[in-house]
Symmetry: C2
Subunit: 467 residues, 2 copies
């Protein structure tokens, strides 16, 4: 098939172009910045120099970059070449919740991402996904072209119900609605449950995108310190009594970023307090399959009355196959379906069919067993390498990918993240996760992305500077 | 592979269960309603009676349905068996914009869907999609598991830019952001551009989901009569002057539901008025590839300054492969990316890779040529069959799937839709499209879904009743 080879070369040029475009979009290349030389870029991206030349030519033709005779290629725009001064806007973005996301979503493989929230590509189950795609290519026509049903694939919802049953969560298929992602699940719940200026309670620290999402809903956000076994209960009750939040959004197992898990006694107290004050709880459980021993689930104690349970497969199976879900009381499902139709006209079958097929053929279970073992080894390895530097976790996480550590000498984590970015290392400084901005000397490390020697060398050098 | 055959049988049972679940979700089976007999269901769904028995047993086990000895299976719930009285809530929903969506999203193949907004499954390019899936299964690992970049696949954005260029719309790749759907595109724009209680202008009639989406954003909706060449201009200017809307959401080519297209002179006036009153225009162009001759595009006249152009492939390629896009002024892209990350954490690569591969290998172009020819034939055929019944389009549509027709004898379209539902025919009555509810005797027919004799027989019978 001649067009395939043609396609491949188009794709290589396209990939180089996207590599540059993405660095511009993610602000790792700002207007006026000099692009890597043809040779450097060819080495970085592993393509021939002529491919890079083609890519740069097309970027010039598009007006994305400009060529200055003798001095190379520069990002289009009216700013002078990159200087430290011009890093300022980027530095400002560093404590903006979007900054880590944008940086981490860069596909630039030359960048280390200990700050990002997912596994490296080579940890993901590509063979299982390829099997699923081939299976789908042989399968029923309608799955390839039809809209999903309002709730989404029933066989998948039944399977998800059984999985939740293993945690003691009583979720019947008609209580489960599929979404495009865990994030969309929370978004739809916010659309249903909160009005602009309603108050929402989160943990401090918490997953930074909770803040971004709640800002998009114009919610007022309050936070309670999160400890090694759940929120600080006195502050929890006092804050709820004072601010009367409509929602509490949290993780019970493998809390992001701390890696801590909720204790049964705190789970029970949380439920009592939230019932008393009519606070609905959104339990975001996307890291469940990383657990080695299951933490108590609020949704299990509560029976999905006052707790909404959500999950997804973006972190475990594929972020490219978009599939999340909501399990909630049956009375809320119709409204959620209406909101899903109104705002995304429902989901497609494609992602749910792929997830279903990988869950069914056993490859998901085997994959996650391997991932849990690799993560345990990485956690031990990274902890051992960090401790001589004085980078020590608050509590050794039971499982998962996150190491939430205090930096030595009250080092400024945001400043460290800026310095790291100049070395093509993306870090996740503590205050990105902290509503009260009291985590200034904390850092969240993803141990699966922290084993490259460049990171350790960088941290050693920075630690030395502080002495 | 034994698990495959096992899977297949699981899938058949699952499909029957989903068939029933979906009819319950879409309210075509209400609590207390009697299910089709084993035999009827087996015939309807084309599976063996034993498969139906398995499916019903599992639905009973789930508590979704109950078995009453001697009298059959019934939808669980405390209401007595279905009676006309109990259709009331469903009748109420008939003028609710969600009603047609929910009904149409049913996968029940025994139901005719002349009211739905997409093509029948057997009109869709399954072979091309299968090729794309196999191509993807052979392809680069990262596409299978990575998040998309903030803007989405650059090669696809470049290709979309060239396609828009064919309409005179100057969209550079960095002005284009991929979304999960055209609906999500409008949703993100509403998040960025309107505050609760802001006013938004739509056409009367317009695509019913615009109203549903704008309600979800708590917008105040105003509408202007849509004629055969665009909005009624006096009313347009007067309404904008009085209500000062922030947005105008419309289709320029093949307007939904009327099938009309905007005239150049009205396009020019609309742009002048909207610029004067600072109204941003969202031009929803998802039906572009159904056109045989291109209507003028507001985004082309305006150069994407004040007009945002959106599109998707749900209606032309696949609704299961979720991929839409926004083309807008470059200043708005960063904000839209932030909102996309906050509310869905960006898209996956899977859908965009499939769309890219089908667009590139030429199969999309060939597919759409065939679709346009089939639609032209269907339009002629359906128009000819309807006219003896006095069902005549306001204006014979130039192309596309929609026939917007006035019913004879000022027949009540909503009542007709209720009657049709009892015959397993889903119709789209005029008032679901009409903010002013002045389209009570109009009906939108999808000619690709209107060639079944059962529809004509039903309409003949109903027309006779009115005489």
């Amino acid at each position: 098939m001649p067009h395939l080879t043609k396609q491949t070369s188009i794709t290589r040029v396209g990939q180089v172009m996207e590599h540059i475009q993405t660095r511009i979009a993610s602000r790792s290349l700002v207007p006026g910045a000099r692009l890597p030389s043809i040779r450097q870029c060819a080495e970085k991206t592993g393509v021939s120099k002529s491919t890079v030349v083609d890519a740069y030519d097309r970027l010039v033709a598009e007006g994305t970059i400009v060529s200055r005779r003798g001095s190379g290629f520069f990002v289009a725009g009216h700013m002078p070449p990159l200087s430290i001064a011009q890093l300022a806007p980027k530095l400002d973005r560093a404590i903006d919740p979007f900054w880590v996301s944008r940086q981490s979503l860069s596909t630039d493989d030359s960048v280390l991402k200990p700050g990002c929230g997912w596994l490296p590509p080579d940890w993901m189950p590509h063979d299982a996904l390829r099997r699923a795609l081939r299976h789908l290519a042989r399968g029923d026509d309608t799955r390839l072209t039809d809209y999903g049903t309002p709730l989404g694939s029933l066989p998948l919802r039944q399977l998800l119900g059984r999985r939740m049953g293993d945690y003691g969560i009583p979720a019947r298929p008609e209580q489960i609605m599929l979404t495009e992602s865990g994030t969309q699940a929370i978004d739809l719940l916010c659309r249903m449950l909160i009005e602009p200026s309603d108050t929402v309670l989160v943990d401090d620290p918490c997953y930074f995108n909770f803040q971004a999402l709640l800002h998009a809903h114009r919610a007022t956000i309050v936070a309670v310190p999160y400890q090694t076994d759940g929120p600080a209960m006195d502050a929890f009750e006092e804050t709820i009594a004072r601010h009367q939040p409509r929602l509490y959004v949290t993780n019970s197992g493998l809390h992001n970023p701390t890696g801590a898990s909720l204790s049964p006694v705190k789970a029970h107290k949380i439920l009592k307090i939230c019932e008393k004050h009519r606070v609905t709880i959104i339990e975001d459980d996307i890291f469940a399959d990383f657990e080695t021993t299951a933490a108590p689930r609020l949704a299990a104690f509560d029976g999905l009355e006052n707790v909404v349970h959500i999950g997804s497969f973006s972190k475990t199976l594929s972020a490219s196959v978009r599939c999340g879900y909501i399990a909630t009381q049956v009375n809320w499902i119709d409204k959620l379906v209406d909101l899903k139709i109104a705002t995304s006209f429902g989901g497609g079958n494609l992602s749910s069919e792929i997830v279903l097929s990988v869950l069914r053929d056993g490859s998901y279970r085997k994959h996650m067993e391997q991932v849990r073992q690799k993560l345990a080894r990485a956690m031990t390895d990274v902890t051992a390498k960090f401790s001589p530097l004085g980078i020590v976790p608050i509590t050794p996480p039971a499982a998962g990918m996150f190491l939430w550590a205090r930096l030595p000498h009250d080092m400024d984590a945001t400043a460290l993240a800026h310095a790291a970015l100049r070395e093509n290392i993306i870090l996740a400084p503590g205050n990105v996760f902290s509503l009260s901005k009291t985590a200034g000397s904390f850092m969240r490390f993803n141990v699966a992305q922290s084993q490259d020697a460049r990171l350790l060398d960088f941290l050693k050098a920075e630690a030395a500077l502080q002495k």
